[in-house]
Symmetry: none
């Protein structure tokens, strides 16, 4: 496998949202970036708050920026808050949101293909939906746990 295809990203998003509906979660925004940090696919369910998609973007964008699932960035924010605050200034307009729900996407061989960010319910539930989507696309998720 080489790059993250739009077909795979769309499967990922569809499954993440299906998982959210099966669990009766709050409305989610789901966003997928490719390995370059380019937006590949995004969907915001009906009823999401005004900047919900930006929060999802910040989870995924931060994960790509540091090469760490956002759960690991959340831990680092506890330990080294000034480091994470500083990185927030240099990751660009897509921001960095240091809570779980930003998951790196890898192929079977471990090569980085991109990242998914999910926001809308608890961070733990957001992450469950991200992982379900990645699995449905036949790929591997790295939450930073």
């Amino acid at each position: 496998m080489t790059d993250l295809t739009l077909a795979a990203a769309q499967t990922l998003v569809a499954t993440a949202l299906k998982t959210a509906r099966e669990r009766n979660l709050k409305p989610l925004a789901v966003v997928v970036y490719d390995a370059r940090g380019a937006l590949k696919c995004l969907a915001a369910e009906d009823g999401t708050s005004l900047r919900r998609a930006e929060i999802a973007r910040g989870k995924a964008n931060g994960a790509l920026a540091l090469g760490l699932g956002s759960r690991a960035i959340a831990k680092r924010a506890e330990e080294q808050p000034h480091f994470v605050a500083a990185v927030s200034h240099l990751v660009g307009p897509d921001a960095l949101v240091p809570v779980p729900g930003g998951v790196l996407i890898r192929d079977a061989g471990g090569r980085l293909l991109g990242a998914v960010g999910v926001s809308g319910d608890t961070s733990d539930n957001d992450e469950i939906c991200a992982l379900a989507g990645i699995e449905a696309a036949g790929l591997k998720g790295d939450t930073g746990a």
Copy 2:
């Protein structure tokens, strides 16, 4: 009722300021956004400090961004300071101010119409004025309490 009208927003602002004068509060800035996050109505009383209106804007804008009254955002900032600090970067130039006084505006059926932000006196007094204004406009306030 569908969208927030300018007439309703003006009633809201006038009543919030009248409430402040009746209680002899410090000079207030009051700002109303519609559900799109667009500025609808604003008034800053004589004697407000240089960036008082921006503080009021940050309370209301943050509430809309997250779909939570700013009292709930204040609580979250205690529990997850890194999350709230991060979201401050992605809510745009109108910023996010995580203290009470940013109140979501809903119609009788619960539909989100916008948000009001008040700043100038204590956060609790700011919120009282916001709620008085919303009630006078025949709408429902959601403080996040």
Copy 3:
């Protein structure tokens, strides 16, 4: 119909991309915003350049900011370049791209529901795909022509 649903936005994006493949256009990015200016749905085809999605976003975001299809903004940029350059500074990080391919989305009654931006091929072809998507969703496009 009230707000733009995710289902409608997904139909719009799928049809825009199908139209591009039928016409053998270059790889496209297609983005849909709701009337609040919140990202609703986005897809970038395989092979798009690094900031292609941002260009699509700037077309749609600019259309919403000014309430004009981006074809009209392109015309205004010819007549009043300083005005359009200035507005680029205030439309937020999603920017403003004053060429055709940013199309306002209205319901049958003319109410504004959002905007779609398409980028990747010529601006005229981009706009054709945007309109095909809007029509497939049962909605009305306003190109600014």
Copy 4:
């Protein structure tokens, strides 16, 4: 007369909007800043586009930044486009919009009290409404003509 009062600013805004309705103009946003560049009063009529208030703000904010009515800034943008483009970078998030409709507000003695910005119809009509409002408040407008 000393500072611009909220009462005067509200009279100004109300008269500008009344003038727009009498002339059957498109929906307007009207914003008043005091001499410090602090937002004093703002109203956006129902039906204004997403960033209309920001355009009004940019007209008034630019006028204050340079001490010139925005009609003079528009002329300067024709003659020295690079100067006006550069100033756009340093005027802060409220921006600079170099077209007519940003009018300086002075008292009878010529002392600068603030600025009003109007946007929504043609720039000439926007300016007419700004001047009507200033006159109703018993003050003097300086359009930069």
